[in-house]
């Protein structure tokens, strides 16, 4: 790798947007307050100043409108990168995404495609108002025809965003907002892409596999590091990165080695991503499993108002407990 620069995730996403606008004139950025306000999280900083109002578009306040017109624009040949201000409000765009972005290619036997990205901050941990903290990636991942990815830090955010923008299909790009400015990481000077549909084994281990993604990945990492320091255990840690398509092969390979699995995510448990991971491990590595797979996830309630959101969220202690229970099973 040539040079690198240290930056936080907000900056890394902003960098990817600058780079994408620079290298491909078909890329446009659109959404509520993405122009002169530079986004409520300042992710679109400097874009309208540099690329003008034609390519960095402050839209009316209407999520179906944003995604529906983005579909039209993508069919025309553009590559819209849309910001939904908070993932919670993407509910309003569900029909456009499910009925159209997910289907145009299939129903026209490959003739029409919709290369667009729906970027959205998600998840809890920043003491935000109600309807500003949910993690409902499973809702989108259940839609055949969409791709759903979620980075866990600056480098994966920038790389996955480039992958998403270059992808010829509609990609839902989750931004775990609690990570925006949580930490910095080295990001290569050269534009990098991560293949959509591939997980990363971040750390090898022998006794247990832990799979996570997004902000929960940081929690899982924290737990794993503490456990390996304090206890005599060796844990393999996988960053899912791509939620759909999901790379169960990497997970199953790991479980074949460790025999045990804990999945950590912030979204509700019932029909959450962990359920599908368990189902695939059951299908592909059943005989390797030596203990039930543990789910450390959000509970099946709406995210509590922020005074008690920390109790809803997975934390390192919850993860550590689950890991030890699974190892000792």
């Amino acid at each position: 790798m040539a040079g690198t620069k240290e930056m936080n995730m907000a900056k890394a996403i902003n960098l990817a947007l600058h780079e994408a606008l620079e290298r491909d004139e078909n890329v446009v950025v659109m959404g509520e307050d993405v122009g002169y306000d530079e986004g409520v999280f300042r992710i679109t900083e400097g874009l309208v100043q540099k690329y003008g109002e034609k390519r960095v578009i402050d839209t009316p306040l209407a999520e179906a409108g944003i995604m529906g017109t983005a579909i039209g624009m993508s069919i025309y040949g553009l590559r819209p990168v849309c910001e939904i201000q908070f993932s919670d409000f993407a509910n309003y765009a569900f029909n456009q995404m499910e009925s159209h972005a997910a289907r145009f290619r299939n129903r026209t036997r490959g003739q029409i495609k919709t290369p667009l990205v729906m970027r959205m901050p998600s998840g809890g941990g920043i003491r935000a108002l109600e309807h500003h903290s949910e993690s409902r990636e499973a809702t989108w991942a259940h839609v055949p025809g969409l791709k759903v990815v979620m980075p866990s830090g600056p480098r994966s955010a920038r790389a996955l965003l480039h992958s998403a923008i270059q992808d010829d299909d509609a990609v839902v790009f989750y931004e775990p907002k609690s990570l925006y400015r949580l930490f910095k990481e080295e990001v290569p000077d050269e534009i990098e892409t991560f293949p959509i549909g591939k997980a990363q084994v971040v750390k090898e281990g022998k006794d247990l596999t832990v799979v996570s993604f997004g902000a929960s990945f940081r929690v899982a990492l924290d737990a794993v590091e503490t456990l390996e320091e304090d206890q005599d255990v060796s844990i393999e840690l996988i960053d899912l990165l791509s939620i759909s398509p999901m790379d169960h092969a990497t997970i199953c390979k790991s479980v074949e080695k460790t025999g045990r699995l804990v999945v950590v995510h912030e979204g509700p448990r019932n029909l959450g991503i962990a359920a599908e991971i368990i189902a695939r491990v059951n299908e592909n590595a059943f005989l390797s499993l030596e203990a039930p797979v543990k789910r450390v996830t959000g509970y099946d309630v709406p995210m509590p108002y922020f005074s008690k959101e920390q109790f809803f969220l997975p934390d390192a202690d919850k993860v550590a407990l689950a890991c030890m229970e699974t190892i000792k099973f």
């Binding site: 839209t59 179906a64 409108g65 039209g72 029909n95 290619r105 036997r109 299909d169 092969a249």
Partner: protein, 381 residues
């Protein structure tokens, strides 16, 4: 500190040129050459006859349920003939005539309503989207296409359609608003057939005209006799020209009537009176246009008859092609369901495709075995 009326500056108009008795308002009559006029009529006729033939096919089990389009030919053809091939045509599902005009083959149309994705693949040489089922959602695509034209600096227009009932959906509102804010070159044509399946327009909205909804978006609105193909043409052409000149979108309401049930699954007697239907049959769009063409000397009665025969042959040929195609290996291949979802093959779908493939092979073996057994049993008798 006054109390005063706010003046509405949006222009909302009504237009009719060719009445039900084929009287024409010469001042308003568009200057269309004979070839164009003939082409317009021909596609109205092709649309009508195809619709009728498809109904027969449906009744005899050769076609799936479909939304019939008889009565909607003038709205569709009057508007579609006002755009160029390179413009965009974004239909709902009653634009049969217009789609044929744009080059959608009869076999595609039939394949679509017979449950083949191949019927949704747009023809080459035009910029068309396929039928759209979730009502009003296509209007946002049209707005987006129009926005893209502005971004790219292309002087084109997007022509899109929706029903009267569909104007109740939020997507209608968002689409007209986006188009208007971004001065997108879009013409929104309402097929106002006065019913959403069974619900009459008076229960769908509380305003006198659909056209006046344009006031909410600061755009011009025009209500047109939707059985008058000339008026539809004029209204659309003005809107198209304005859009291409940077004047933004227009809402065109074509008042018409469904001469048929909503779809082949529907029974309109439940909600429409025979009197009402009869009255509207009298306002039928083809008859008056045929008369106009004859009066004008564009076609003779004999030519009209010949056209009927031509159209009939064309439809027969189309049906035949569709039935051949639907028996082709390619179109019968169930494994194709996995092939077009994403730009590349994913491991996950590859595995499911394999799963279905093996199952089908297993079934085939099973059948062969059964046939074999049956055969053996038969010969044993």
């Amino acid at each position: 500190m006054p109390r005063k009326p706010i003046e509405i500056t949006e222009k909302i108009e009504y237009l009719s040129i060719l009445d039900e008795n084929a009287n024409v308002d010469a001042k308003l009559e568009p200057k269309l050459d004979n070839a164009t006029l003939k082409k317009m009529y021909r596609f109205m006729l092709l649309g009508r006859r195809t619709d009728e033939r498809m109904l027969k096919m449906q009744r005899t089990g050769r076609l799936g349920t479909f939304p019939q389009a008889s009565g909607h030919e003038a709205v569709s053809i009057g508007s579609v003939s006002a755009i160029e091939k390179t413009d965009w045509h974004i239909p709902a599902y009653r634009e049969l005539a217009g789609m044929l005009y744009r080059g959608w083959s009869l076999e595609k149309i039939i394949l679509y309503w017979n449950g083949y994705e191949e019927g949704a693949v747009p023809p080459e040489g035009v910029n068309d989207l396929p039928y759209c089922v979730p009502v009003a959602s296509q209007l946002l695509h049209a707005a987006g296409v129009g926005m893209a034209m502005n971004i790219k600096g292309d002087k084109k227009v997007a022509l899109t359609y929706f029903g009267d009932g569909s104007s109740s959906e939020g997507d209608f509102h968002e689409a007209l608003n986006f188009a208007s804010v971004f001065k997108a070159p879009v013409v929104f044509v309402c097929q106002n057939n006065q019913y959403a399946i069974s619900v009459p327009l008076s229960k769908q909205m509380n305003c006198k005209t659909l056209a006046q909804r344009a006031v909410a978006y600061g755009m011009p609105g025009i209500k047109v006799d939707g059985n008058d193909v000339l008026a539809m043409y004029v209204a659309t052409k003005e809107a198209v020209d304005r859009a291409k000149a940077g004047g933004g979108p227009t809402l065109v309401e074509g008042l018409t009537y469904r001469f048929t049930p909503h779809t082949t699954a529907d029974d309109p007697k439940r909600y429409r009176s025979e009197d009402e239907s009869k009255e509207w049959f009298g306002k039928e769009p083809l008859t008056r246009f045929a008369k106009y063409l004859q009066n004008k000397g564009v076609v003779t009665a004999k030519e009209l008859e010949e056209m009927e025969a031509e159209v009939d042959a064309e439809i027969r040929a189309g049906i035949e092609r569709s039935e051949t195609l639907s028996k082709s290996e390619e179109l019968m291949n169930p494994l194709a369901m996995f092939d077009y979802l994403y730009g590349e093959e994913t491991e996950h779908l590859k595995a499911q495709k394999e799963e279905l493939k093996q199952y089908l092979e297993h079934k085939k073996k099973g059948k062969k075995q059964q046939n074999h057994t049956a055969h053996a049993a038969g010969s044993a008798k």
